[in-house]
């Protein structure tokens, strides 16, 4: 059988897609496809630099990064498709990749696919290559992790490899700019030639059946899908849109012979038609091993034992969990202890010199009162709020990058798998939940690592209960005013409560709405431990930070401005004109006052806290400034709001709680923790979970927040 050629080269066909629209105006589309953790996104970032944007694929909920790749021959659009192990679609991400490669009815299909293959783990990567080759799309192989493979004594003969698969193969080390010019040239060549790669040989038996299946295929289906891929898909029992069920059934019947020939061994016997998928998969792996035998030289069989030894410790029964909690505690300390002073410093700078300077300048220009109000309270206040957030977000993003790139995040998911099962979620769900402590928005995007839709929904509903760093600023302010030296303990308690809420609500939802949710067994690839490089961490942090600033800035400045505007418009029996009415008698004040009675049972039925909670619905970042605004603007002559804020707040809570300010403040903080995090989270939830689930989520959170706040105040008032 070794005489059979490894691949059948398809030289005679000029192009797989001769009828497809050509490359439009020099903007060829090149898609990056590959396994997770093979350096695909690193390659993407280095090829496109800053010229990229991340967004949902039109009509799908799959987030895809697109960028411009500038080459001497012109510009190309580079598409970074989600990492996948195969083209069998088990999640929306994988389905998108498959559809783009095989379905000619899709818009924006790639002209060439750059397949990133990890040299240090070639067999599994070749399994994906085999499937992509079956689609007939022109490909260029980029071999990544060349340096790691060389370190382990693995050498890949790229020229021989290219010859055997009928497509160019280029070794690259993106971080050192090695091989990028060759990759560029290979892609340009592939775009010009538009030649399909060879077809992997799946052994005589399977090939014979595939030829028979091909004869069954309806002509209209062949206009839409590549023949070889369609034959394999139907044989392995996939349902393909636009192909009648009975064609699939007949294809599978043809495969029955493959099963009968199979060994009779009880353990290994494959006799069900579903097992055809296994037979084909085995043949793809057999092909991969033959290819490896022809192209890979291993100097010695020593494996990276350092990584294994570290794993024995980090994933072990007794040490694993304590180390995990230590790491999470470290993340927590770094984001609070280091970020907080930076944040205060920036805030002081903006509140102090910047505001005074601007006020001075405005007076110098004899600007009208409303303009000064808009600039000082609206724009500078809003931008200042946002900027003071930058250190916190930056530290969080750096830490997440380090955890992810070092390979520890995957171990963490394994270690806490059992714990997560308690609330019916797999260990991988821990990742988005941890990310939620930084910001709920990326956390919601992270739910995509879960294959099961119900797991995604449940995780997406729980994420808003994870206390994000924006809420931290409010805890710090409020706890600082009311609890003095015990503020740290109170803030920590809020985080503990957040975890209790996630677990409690998880159990509740699992026992009700999500009853009978399927159990997803844990199978997790552990990438080798790596020292994260500054360049990658820097790029990733900057991209996330920039995305955060872009999405949040408009929202926050707009909120602060609208609040200022509402606060300036007189309402009802208000006195004074626009901008001169006390905030209490403004439109904003009267809205807040209308809401306030709802919070009376929780001990803070006053318009000041209600106003803060209203802006908090839009963005928690704006809560602190609204609190400050409501108090400072009710004391028109007072320019030192920082000094007077504390006593003013204490006075308010003292009054509304009828002498139990401490439980009332705790109730306020608990409400703040549990209700809607911000408008951006709502937008992200809508994108991930759909409109109905999002509305349900908002309602659920308001109910939980209110009940908890009332309980905290009513019980607390008995003791404090």
């Amino acid at each position: 059988m070794s005489e059979r050629p490894l691949t059948r080269l398809v030289l005679e066909k000029p192009c797989c897609d001769a009828d497809a629209p050509g490359v439009d105006e020099g903007h060829a589309r090149v898609a990056l496809v590959g396994n997770p953790n093979v350096g695909k996104s690193t390659l993407f970032n280095i090829l496109t630099g800053a010229r990229q944007r991340v967004g949902n694929w039109p009509g799908k909920t799959v987030s895809v990064a697109r960028g411009t790749w500038r080459t001497p021959d012109g510009e190309m659009t580079l598409i970074d498709l989600p990492g996948t192990y195969s083209l069998l679609p088990d999640s929306p991400d994988e389905a998108l990749t498959r559809d783009l490669l095989v379905d000619r009815g899709m818009d924006d299909r790639p002209d060439v696919v750059v397949l990133t293959l990890d040299c240090s783990n070639l067999a599994r990567n070749l399994y994906l290559l085999a499937q992509v080759m079956e689609t007939g799309v022109p490909i260029v192989v980029a071999l990544t992790m060349v340096d790691i493979a060389e370190g382990r004594g693995i050498r890949v003969d790229a020229d021989r490899f290219a010859e055997l698969i009928g497509a160019p193969v280029v070794p690259v080390v993106p971080r050192q700019n090695r091989g990028l010019d060759a990759l560029r040239a290979a892609v340009a060549g592939a775009l010009a030639a538009r030649r399909p790669p060879g077809e992997p040989d799946l052994g005589e038996d399977v090939e014979t059946v595939l030829a028979d299946v091909a004869a069954l295929l309806p002509a209209d289906a062949l206009l839409r899908y590549p023949e070889r891929w369609l034959a394999t898909a139907l044989l392995t029992g996939e349902t393909v849109p636009g192909v009648p069920e009975e064609v699939g059934a007949r294809a599978r019947a043809l495969g029955a012979g493959l099963l009968a020939d199979d060994g009779t061994d009880d353990l290994g016997g494959l006799d069900d038609l579903d097992d055809l998928e296994i037979i084909v998969a085995e043949q793809r792996y057999a092909w991969a091993h033959r290819l490896i035998a022809e192209t890979v030289r291993r100097k010695n069989d020593v494996r990276a034992t350092v990584s294994d030894r570290v794993d024995r410790l980090l994933t072990s029964r007794w040490v694993g969990l304590p180390i995990f909690f230590l790491v999470m505690w470290g993340v927590f300390i770094l984001t609070t202890k280091i970020a907080a002073p930076l944040q205060t410093g920036l805030q002081d700078l903006i509140d102090g010199p910047v505001t005074t300077g601007a006020a001075h300048a405005l007076r110098g220009m004899s600007a009208p009162g409303w303009l000064s109000g808009l600039v000082l309270n609206g724009i500078i206040g809003g931008v200042g709020q946002l900027l003071s957030f930058v250190p916190l977000m930056a530290i969080m993003f750096v830490l997440l990058s380090v955890l992810e790139d070092s390979g520890y995040m995957a171990r963490a998911a394994f270690v806490v798998d059992r714990l997560m099962r308690l609330i019916g979620l797999p260990g991988r769900a821990f990742l988005p939940l941890v990310v939620g402590f930084g910001c709920n928005v990326p956390a919601l995007a992270g739910t995509r690592i879960l294959a099961d839709r119900r797991h995604r929904l449940l995780t997406g509903l729980l994420i808003p209960f994870v206390s994000c760093s924006a809420r931290l600023t409010v805890y710090v302010l409020v706890a600082g005013v009311f609890f003095g030296s015990n503020a740290g303990t109170v803030v920590f308690a809020m985080y503990v409560l957040s975890i209790v809420l996630v677990v409690g609500m998880g159990l509740l939802l699992r026992g009700t709405l999500f009853r009978g949710m399927s159990y997803e067994p844990l199978v997790l690839d552990l990438p080798p431990y790596r020292l994260p490089t500054l360049r990658v961490i820097g790029t990733q942090t900057w991209q996330k930070l920039w995305a955060f600033l872009r999405t949040a800035s408009g929202l926050i400045v707009a909120t602060v401005t609208v609040v200022w505007l509402f606060a300036s418009i007189p309402a009802g029996g208000g006195h004074g004109g626009f901008g001169r009415t006390p905030i209490e008698h403004s439109l904003f004040g009267s809205t807040a006052r209308a809401v306030a009675p709802a919070f009376a049972p929780a001990g803070f039925g006053d318009w000041h806290p209600s106003a803060a909670l209203i802006t908090g619905f839009v963005a928690k970042e704006a809560v602190v400034s609204t609190v400050a605004q409501t108090y400072s603007m009710s004391e028109p002559s007072d320019n030192h709001r920082a000094g007077s804020l504390g006593p003013a707040m204490r006075q308010t809570f003292e009054r509304t709680s009828h002498g139990h300010p401490i439980p009332a403040v705790l109730a306020f903080m608990v409400f703040l923790l549990a209700y809607t995090p911000c408008m951006t989270t709502v937008a992200a939830q809508r994108a991930e979970l759909g409109g109905r689930m999002t509305l349900f989520g908002i309602g659920m959170q308001l109910v939980v927040a209110w009940l908890l706040a009332v309980a905290v105040f009513q019980i607390g008032a008995l003791f404090l």
């Binding site: 088990d90 599994r124 494996r303 029964r317």
Partner: protein
């Protein structure tokens, strides 16, 4: 026998993957096909195992370990 309960350090050959179709598919994608040789290199909480399969390191829980039918590898 199943992989569940196999000792750390044992080298085993995969005979068959059982379980639901999607579960099987995920394991096969990662290289758990008939004849593949793996070794158990670590044990986590509650029956979870860390496996070496070729150049990959893969963590599985006890449920998954039970779906992997194996026999001692002759090497």
């Amino acid at each position: 026998m199943t992989l569940r309960g196999c000792a750390v350090g044992s080298r085993l050959e995969v005979c068959r993957v059982t379980g639901g179709r999607r579960h099987r598919r995920r394991l096969i994608e990662l290289g758990f096909v008939r004849g593949a040789v793996l070794s158990v290199i670590g044990r986590g909480t509650m029956g979870g195992l860390v496996l070496a399969l070729g150049d990959s390191r893969i963590a599985v829980d006890s449920f998954t370990a039970e779906t992997l039918l194996v026999k001692p590898a002759h090497v």
